[in-house]
């Protein structure tokens, strides 16, 4: 009996790969390089299995390799496929190739990062709302008028922009004094160095918002070695497993979770809907959640 089921499953798999619609998820960086992309990939694969369509996952070999991503999509359009869910490394640079896909009759949606093409649905986190969520959390925990700092990501990227401006607007709205804004380029060591410089120049800060968890964890190390971790609260963004562990250990205070699995899953669902001739919303929010000690366990 077991053998029969296995054989049946194998047959089903073979026929489905031969006949099923073929969708491409093209991410900014490899799932192997970043747990975030790994989750986007997993969400898309699961959804593909559920809907019985074939999902291929690609990415440039290194994050932000724009030229490689453009070449990949061009090659895939040439081969022919039924839809593309794209996380553009650079929205402007990818715009022409997205237009080319649409001209070839291939539906496209953006996941994670919004592109510039008109009429293409964006499925992802509203980073400004997420950063504001973090800012509001900080506002509720420390005194009005306190000095606070922001560790920015790479602010030539829209995600970096949105998190920097969303957090700044949120912190200023509740009367905090933003005394330093420096970039850690999303990198743990660079975030740590930036934080060391910030606390040296501004010894009175009470909180720091780091635009991603890598930099937040770097900031924690900087505060630890300066003996100031108890005085400065650290809030990050992404809720990666290391950050969740740090929150549980009482080092980072909080972080903001995106729902990367939703991005992959909603992306494939949207493409299937488009293929079936349905209309979809221009923006689909995958949501953000504040993660502190009370709910960090599930992100570990």
């Amino acid at each position: 009996m077991k053998k029969l089921i296995l054989a049946g499953a194998a047959l089903a798999l073979m026929t489905s790969t031969a006949l099923a619609d073929k969708f491409l998820l093209d991410m900014k960086g490899p799932g192997a390089g970043n747990p975030f992309w790994a989750a986007v990939e997993a969400g898309a694969m699961e959804k593909g299995k559920e809907l019985g369509v074939e999902v291929m996952v690609m990415s440039p070999p290194t994050e932000s390799d724009v030229a490689a991503q453009i070449a990949q999509i061009e090659d895939m359009i040439a081969q022919g496929l039924d839809g593309i869910a794209l996380a553009p490394t650079d929205p402007n640079a990818l715009a022409p190739v997205v237009d080319a896909a649409k001209a070839a009759g291939i539906p496209v949606v953006f996941v994670d990062t919004k592109g510039t093409n008109e009429g293409v649905t964006f499925i992802g986190t509203n980073n400004e709302v997420g950063a504001k969520l973090a800012a509001d959390y900080i506002c509720g925990k420390i005194e009005k008028g306190s000095e606070v700092a922001i560790l920015q990501g790479i602010i030539t990227q829209s995600t970096g922009q949105a998190r920097a401006s969303g957090s700044k607007a949120g912190l200023e709205a509740c009367g905090m004094k933003v005394v330093a804004e420096q970039t850690g380029e999303w990198d743990r060591a660079k975030g740590q160095a930036a934080m060391e410089n910030i606390i040296t120049g501004n010894p009175n800060i009470k909180a720091v918002f780091a635009s991603n968890d890598n930099m937040a964890l770097g900031a924690v190390e900087a505060l630890k070695s300066a003996g100031k971790l108890a005085d400065v609260m650290v809030v990050g963004f992404d809720a990666n497993p290391d950050a969740a562990a740090s929150v549980l250990a009482g080092e980072m205070t909080a972080t903001v979770a995106q729902a990367p699995k939703n991005m992959g899953a909603f992306g494939i669902q949207a493409l299937v809907d488009l293929k079936a001739g349905k209309t979809i919303d221009p923006v689909i929010d995958t949501g953000t959640v504040l993660v502190d000690k009370s709910n960090a366990e599930q992100y570990k």
């Binding site: 799932g31 804004e181 970039t183 743990r188 740590q192 160095a193 040296t200 120049g201 890598n214 290391d242």
Partner: protein, 328 residues
């Protein structure tokens, strides 16, 4: 243009770069007198540039032979990942701390052997290859996930801080400073007081002449790249200790910072010329500039532009100095 005093000219030839460091420190002090000379800030500058100093020392030996090692940033990340995974797997710490440097030496040997055995036309090519290979391996080891929590002993060199009972607690002299000092003094001794060191300079001055005079050029080159790899691995150990983490994207573009520090420090890209003191000054110049710009909240875009200008200016000053020396 530097006047006719041979003594002044000789002083500038040897210590001009140190004068630049002092001038920069004075400038930074003038812009942020409250912060720049504070113990905390000076400690920061040391901690933040220790890894770069090690990479630059390794790069220096390579550049003296008129070579280049583009792989140091990736090899550093590879060493970091290997030792972080080993630490997590419960390998005893005395072995873990050796893993970084050993991975570095291995990568360096691969570079050296690729260059000499495969006879690739220029080290740029071999090390460009290993830059990519080592970066790929770093990500492959954990499927790209960072590894945190390395244990106190493993972190020691990168994180320990000696206050000697005189510095107020968060400040002091970081252990990484002593690693850099020992490395720099060792490198000076090796290059200036051993026959291998003199051979290295000879190869950089004129490879053909060195070969004809009986130096086993290939063997020396393999050693040179192994040394560069060793320092990259040691840098990985320091950075892992400092951040309490191994992450596969560590040290991206660090090779370019190392090259810049060596060149700013007065070493010749054509080989055969440069000093350890100059390299250390080059590292300090890069570090002071970043620190000063950060303290003054200068945008990162301007920082890049200024660093580019300083590289060009520093080498141009060197060119002028040399012209002056030759005309005399």
């Amino acid at each position: 243009m530097l006047g006719n005093s041979p003594r002044l000219s000789s002083f500038l030839e040897h210590y001009g770069i140190v004068v630049i460091v002092v001038v920069m420190m004075a400038l930074l002090y003038a812009t942020r007198p409250d912060v720049f000379m504070s113990l905390a800030n000076l400690t920061n500058i040391i901690k933040q540039n220790a890894t770069l100093a090690l990479l630059a020392l390794g790069m220096f030996v390579v550049i003296v032979t008129a070579g280049i090692d583009l792989s140091v940033g990736s090899v550093m990340a590879l060493g970091m990942m290997c030792l972080a995974v080993a630490a997590k797997a419960g390998v005893p710490w005395p072995i873990v701390v050796l893993i970084g440097p050993l991975v570095g030496i291995t990568a360096g040997l691969v570079n050296g052997l690729g260059l000499t055995v495969l006879k690739l036309p220029h080290p740029f090519i071999m090390t460009l290859g290993t830059l990519n290979i080592a970066r790929g391996l770093s990500s492959l080891i954990t499927e790209g996930a960072p590894v945190s929590g390395l244990g106190r002993e493993v972190r020691y060199l990168g994180q320990a801080n000696y206050d000697f009972g005189i510095f107020p607690p968060p400040t002091g002299l970081p252990a990484s400073l002593f690693v850099v000092i020992i490395s720099a003094v060792g490198m000076w001794f090796f290059l200036n007081r051993t026959s291998m060191g003199r051979h290295i300079f000879a190869i950089g001055g004129n490879t053909h002449a060195a070969r004809v005079s009986g130096i086993n050029v290939d063997r020396v080159l393999v050693y040179v790249y192994a040394i560069s790899g060793f320092f990259a691995g040691l840098g990985g150990l320091l950075l892992a200790g400092r951040t309490d983490s191994g992450f596969p994207l560590a040290g991206q573009n660090a090779e370019l910072d190392a090259i810049a520090a060596v060149i700013i420090g007065g070493a010749s890209f054509f080989g055969g010329r440069g000093t350890v003191l100059g390299v250390m000054a080059g590292v300090l110049i890069m570090g002071l500039m970043r620190n000063g710009l950060n303290l003054n909240n200068v945008s990162p875009f301007w920082q890049q532009i200024l660093i580019g200008l300083v590289i060009i200016a520093a080498v141009y000053i060197d060119v002028l100095r040399r012209h002056a020396a030759v005309r005399r």
